[in-house]
């Protein structure tokens, strides 16, 4: 197990990258703590696979270094990095039994047979496959196979990190939930550093201690799921995390007053004078519907009832907004306005979060 340090890391697939656009991964420096579960989250093409391949050793970064603990491994190959990887679809050795599959990495490293036996049994128990250890791997279901791939990664006690590259893609939705929970429990029990790549925010938020959100080759924010939800560092985070994403309004800001078109909103904080593009962000969860006379006037266009709550799609002066209304709140015809929970209003300056001072 190891702490992973990315030091001034950048990568381009071109030989002579000139502009910023030529880089698949923009320059970054981060330290990922030992034993934590990280989720690399982001839309397709954001560079998360590139980053994973650099960590696993398939790619050598064009700039910067990568360290496991204090050891530079930038040019070390996959095998010597001593990592384990679980792929998008299950990779098992079809003709081997489950037991042999789990024992394979240890056998190849010449471990003691007694130890292998004990270790395989222990891992089989923790991934719940001990009752079909002697079955051939070929006939098993996709999720069982994926568990075996995972088990093969964890069977070595000394692995520096376990990398999971969208491992739940081929798993049925019902089983997905279960497997995700098992994965999390396993991480708690065994304490390996885990890096989980996904484009599914639910997966990332439920699995990880820390979510690394990426966009266009940048790490936009690293934080706990709660931080990403409550205080998105960037408008992209606000938009990407949450379903539906955050609402944004262009505003004119002066002190603790935000002017959205013709409407004025008093803020809880006072802000410095800023020049540039200023936006007010608020999550759909933190907007409520109210009667005329309070808040801002809106036109409701559609109500989607998703069971646990209702998503109200509305228009505020030609701008689309989403509001989440608790299931027990009845939406009446007279509810033509919206109001914000002021504690949860966030101000963005050129897409990045700015904090004000308490008034």
């Amino acid at each position: 197990m190891a702490r992973i340090t990315l030091s001034n890391l950048a990568h381009s697939y071109m030989e002579n990258p000139k502009s910023k656009e030529d880089y698949a991964l923009q320059k970054m420096s981060h330290v990922w703590e030992d034993g934590e579960a990280y989720a690399l989250l982001g839309p397709s093409g954001c560079g998360k696979s590139t980053l994973l391949n650099i960590i696993s050793g398939i790619l050598v970064p064009s700039e910067g270094e990568i360290l496991f603990d204090d050891q530079v491994v930038t040019h070390t190959n996959t095998v010597d990095r001593n990592i384990a990887q679980v792929f998008q679809f299950p990779v098992v050795y079809d003709t081997m039994s489950v037991r042999d599959n789990l024992a394979f990495p240890l056998k190849n490293r010449g471990a003691d047979p007694e130890y292998i036996k004990k270790r395989v049994l222990a891992i089989a128990k923790s991934i719940n496959v001990e009752h079909y250890l002697d079955k051939k791997a070929e006939g098993l279901s996709a999720d069982a196979k994926q568990k075996i791939s995972l088990g093969r990664g964890m069977v070595r006690e000394d692995v520096n990190a376990i990398l999971l590259d969208e491992p739940l893609t081929v798993i049925d939705p019902q089983v997905k939930m279960k497997l995700r929970a098992e994965l999390k429990a396993l991480h708690k029990k065994l304490g390996h550093t885990m890096i989980f790549v996904t484009h599914d925010q639910t997966e990332a938020l439920t699995f990880a201690d820390k979510v690394v959100l990426m966009n266009e080759g940048n790490v936009v924010q690293i934080g706990s799921p709660e931080e990403l939800f409550e205080e998105p560092a960037n408008t992209f985070v606000g938009y990407f995390i949450g379903s539906p994403g955050m609402n944004f309004f262009d505003i004119e800001l002066s002190g603790n007053n935000a002017k959205i078109q013709d409407d004025n909103i008093d803020l809880n904080f006072t802000y410095k004078q800023l020049t540039g593009h200023i936006e007010l962000g608020i999550r759909p969860e933190y907007i409520s519907l109210c009667e005329e006379g309070k808040g801002l006037k809106i036109t409701i266009t559609r109500i989607e009832d998703v069971g646990i709550h209702k998503i109200v799609r509305a228009q505020y002066k030609n701008q689309d907004i989403s509001i989440i209304v608790p299931e027990d709140v009845k939406i009446t015809k007279t509810m033509t306005n919206m109001s914000f929970y002021k504690d949860h209003i966030i101000i963005y300056h050129n897409s990045w979060l700015v904090k004000g001072e308490k008034t």
Binding site: I58, T78, V79, I83, A84, Q85, F87, Q88, F89, V91, Y93, D94, T95, M96, F104, P105, N108, R109, K136, E138, G139, S149, R152, G153
Partner: protein, 290 residues
Amino acid sequence: MNKTVNQKAWFLVLPVFILVAFSAVIPLMTVVNYSVQDTFGNNIFTWVGLEWFEEIIHSERMHDALGRQFLFTSIIMAIEMPLGIFIALHMPKKGFWASVCLVLISLPLLVPWNVVGTIWQIFGRSDIGLLGHTLTSMGIDYNYSQDILSAWSTIIVMDVWHWTSLVVLLSYAGLQSIPSAYYQAAKIDQASRWSVFRYIELPKMRGVLLIAALLRFMDSFMIYTEPFVLTGGGPGNSTTFLSIDLVNMALGQFDLGPASAYSIMYFLVILLVSWVFFTVMTNIDKGGKA
């Protein structure tokens, strides 16, 4: 859901019926017809029942040809299957050279059978053939028209040259379809080259190898043109395989009745062995899933 019943739909399979009847069933039936009758010319036939079958089953001639046939097929399969896999494993996976290799490998498959026979016949001649002349001048006693060993080795080398490509192409296709993640996982697990072959490549190629083995069995079991052109079945009867023997009987001696019985049994042997082959191989397949 209600199923609609429409018996007229049977007419839609009629064209296939007619086609199969004319291309396979009727010709086969004429053979069946000959096999139970005897004639002394003038188009007069007499019913003889299963006499021809009994005669052929007990004839030493058929036993010998069958033995030679099995020996030949086993030898070429024992060479072509491993060799084909070996070549496929060592071919470039992509790029310019992959295409070059594929074209070169496919070339022998495009040469017509009798041309293959002719090529090797000339190639093996000790006066003008490169192979024959070289071997003779090295002091090796090589003469495919006189020496049994020379004749057999030439035919085997010729078949390997002609048909290994088929195994290569099929294995290559099987190898190409293995996702790179498997190799990566094997690397992480520190699997040896042999383990990669044994536990990843071979299991993933199983399907195509089954097809390759079946095709090679059937084709080699029916081999006619190449040995006929090269040795004509000789020296003596040493390279008279089943189909050469059959043609001798049917067209050389014009023994239509016994030849028909021979044909039918020949056909049944191929059918039987192919079926056993297929069942065994697919059972191995299923064995993995149990």
